[in-house]
């Protein structure tokens, strides 16, 4: 009797992760591999694109979303394994201005200041950062007066670039993005209660087959995992 089949090579889990987490996720995967596991394969794209790929039946094991809404969509569709959803990290929303320019934002004058010129933010209709920004400005009661000045970038990084280049005097971005740019400084931080919490949820996907997925998910949520994300400016959830 011949050897009919070799045992299937232990397949690496496929992780779908939001593009904005590329560095942090890669670092986490490296660390996981260093601990003697198979390094997961990570697919990066916008949360919406990843969610659609999962919806379409793409075989993936883990989903790390930058947007709770899309995780909700998958949950409603029965595409995630119940009980595996957890909040991985948290972010904050800030106002930035080019280095050496712009005044410090005060709640009293916020409308006046932000209406001084184009206000760069991610598209409030589409991108989570924009949605959070709109929510915060609405809560502060200034959205009506600021809205006409808003220019909607494709994502947070594009909004940041507009401020870096001086194309817009102010922009609303995540703290993680502001922190990394040497060309902008933070001139204001939105109160945490002015917008829904900015959470990055993780969950295992129904379609997944890799036995390693659960281990990697637990690693991400472990103190060691969270420490890696903290290194890139994310706050603990």
């Amino acid at each position: 009797p011949a050897v009919l089949a070799e045992p299937a090579a232990r397949s690496a889990p496929l992780v779908l992760a939001a593009a904005s987490m590329q560095e942090a996720m890669s670092a986490a995967a490296d660390e996981w591999a260093r601990r003697g596991h198979v390094r997961p394969v990570i697919a990066f794209a916008a949360s919406s694109a990843l969610a659609r790929q999962a919806q379409a039946g793409g075989r993936a094991d883990l989903f790390v979303s930058a947007d709770e809404q899309w995780m909700d969509v998958l949950a409603r569709g029965g595409l995630i394994v119940p009980g595996t959803r957890a909040d991985l990290v948290r972010n904050r929303l800030v106002v930035v201005a080019p280095v050496g320019r712009g005044e410090r934002i005060t709640v009293r004058r916020i409308a006046t200041i932000l209406s001084a010129g184009p206000l760069a933010m991610a598209d409030p209709r589409a991108v989570p950062a924009g949605r959070y920004g709109e929510a915060a400005l609405t809560r502060l009661g200034v959205w009506q007066s600021v809205a006409p000045h808003v220019v909607r970038a494709a994502d947070v990084r594009a909004a940041l670039a507009l401020v870096e280049r001086g194309a817009a005097p102010y922009g609303i971005v995540y703290a993680t993005d502001a922190r990394a740019s040497r060309k902008v400084r933070v001139v204001g931080v939105f109160p945490a209660d002015s917008h829904p919490p900015i959470l990055y949820p993780v969950a295992r996907l129904r379609n997944g087959v890799s036995p390693d997925a659960e281990g990697f998910r637990r690693f991400l949520l472990s103190p060691a995992g969270r420490a890696i994300f903290a290194r890139f400016g994310f706050a603990a959830a």
């Binding site: 899309w70 760069a120 220019v151 909607r152 494709a154 507009l162 001086g166 194309a167």
Partner: protein, 230 residues
């Protein structure tokens, strides 16, 4: 299919941006095509590569380079601001610039192909009939390159109507000013449950370019009928 007022505005803007981009790029593209097809000068290959650039680098990078150039502190942006007091940032003119730059390589290639196919013996015949080079160009080279010009216009218009990455990076999405069809479609696609809107707007995009296509086919066929023999 009934569009909302906001959607009509998007369509109007797309036509404005796409039409302006095409018309502005047309003479530039033809000039470049002519240079690349006919002239022999040092740096010809560099020019050729430069023209193809927007095709090769991702649109986002093109948009980013446009931003660097046209931002108030950038080389062109400063000049526009100092001399004309205008800025194209967040304006439909900026969207048209992005669309034109992205459409340019397609237009140049198509036109160049036709210019290279022009029978140069006809040009010498025209010269013996007293036409100076400029008249030869206008009356012989240009009309005989018409198939390429038409193809370039169709490709360019379609590309302009579909341009997304460079536009949103360069001028963002400002409703009524820079929010063209692809930008509206992108926004709808990001939103859970936005599929309906995506289909509607995509259908509009397709119809617009279908009209351009039919027009060009019709013109092309009229033209072809004259020149071809059994």
């Amino acid at each position: 299919m009934i569009l909302s007022d906001a959607e009509w505005e998007v369509v109007r803007l797309s036509l404005l941006v796409g039409g302006t981009a095409c018309m502005a790029a047309l003479p530039v593209a033809f000039g470049l095509a002519w240079l690349l097809a006919r002239a022999r000068f040092p740096g010809r290959l560099v020019l050729d590569a430069l023209v193809h650039l927007p095709l090769v680098v991702p649109p986002v990078v093109t948009g980013w380079l446009l931003l660097l150039a046209f931002a108030p502190g950038g080389p062109i942006g400063r000049w526009l601001l100092d001399w004309f007091g205008v800025t194209v940032l967040f304006r439909w003119t900026g969207a048209a610039i992005a669309a034109a730059v992205m459409a340019l390589p397609l237009m140049v290639r198509a036109m160049r192909l036709s210019i290279e196919a022009v029978d140069r013996r006809l040009e010498s015949a025209a010269r013996t009939l007293g036409a100076d080079p400029w008249r030869v160009f206008r009356t012989v080279t240009l009309p005989l390159s018409l198939p390429g010009i038409m193809a370039g216009l169709v490709l360019g218009f379609a590309r302009s109507i579909g341009e997304f990455g460079a536009t949103i990076t360069f001028v963002s999405s400002v409703p009524g000013e820079t929010e063209t069809l692809p930008l509206a479609i992108y926004a709808a696609l990001q939103t859970p449950g936005g599929e309906n809107s995506v289909w509607r707007l995509a259908a509009v995009s397709v119809s617009l370019s279908l009209v351009a296509l039919i027009a060009s086919e019709w013109l092309g066929r009229r033209w072809g009928r004259r020149l071809h023999v059994l």
